[in-house]
Symmetry: C2
Subunit: 135 residues, 2 copies
């Protein structure tokens, strides 16, 4: 399951993708329109900015807006950033790999199945982008 945090992130990013032409959008506006707790949203947007996906401007007329083109940001990237691993096991994770103890990866049935799950999952999440969140 995705955490609330990444679900909020996706909602906020979808909103920002819609308003992309309108210049900076206030955190408080996103918070109201998407019903996301204000302070929680602050943290989330900050993370997205630090990751280089969003950009912000302080003071009057400020707010958040896209730094990258939404079409260039994969869903998988956002999930990994906010929630961490996408795979069901550490030993099949590409970005958060950990060797599994007492299970030989060469002939571990579970490993094989979970690698297959990872592959089909990533096929979707690496091809879909934040542009797909626009309505």
């Amino acid at each position: 399951m995705l955490t609330k945090k990444s679900q909020y992130a996706f909602k906020a990013l979808g909103y920002l993708a819609d308003k992309q032409k309108d210049g900076p959008v206030l955190i408080s506006e996103i918070s109201k329109k998407k019903r996301i707790p204000l302070k929680f949203l602050e943290n989330i947007l900050l993370e997205l900015r630090k990751a280089g996906i969003l950009e912000s401007k302080k003071g009057k007329g400020g707010g958040y807006f896209f730094k990258k083109d939404p079409a260039d940001v994969k869903m998988a990237t956002v999930i990994r950033l906010i929630d961490g691993p996408i795979s069901m096991l550490p030993c099949v994770s590409l970005y958060f790999y950990e060797r599994c103890k007492n299970c030989d990866e060469k002939h571990c049935g579970l490993h094989d199945v979970m690698r297959q799950v990872r592959d089909v999952t990533l096929e979707v999440l690496e091809s879909r982008t934040l542009a797909d969140l626009k309505d």
Copy 2:
């Protein structure tokens, strides 16, 4: 990510699938061979028995063994039993569905992507069975 609990469950089930011809297997044997904390394993096997996957026998010569044919138990079933939902969002879950607030499922980009992820994931997990865990 799968929990330790379901990972242990799969290891134990794999072991039991191998030993299927040998009659009842002791919890303590599985615990040793697969390096799973004994008391934790007890709980797990109990759940699997109550779910009708395993059967047990008490007293001398007792232990755990398969009630169903391993080839008839889908991986998805075990995950749902031990960990719960497989989907990334409650609103696309088949067995643990919950309507999502402030997001119209008719035109929600996130919903669509996550439904697609669910579909490809289940294609794997509903087709692979515990027989695939044998080595």
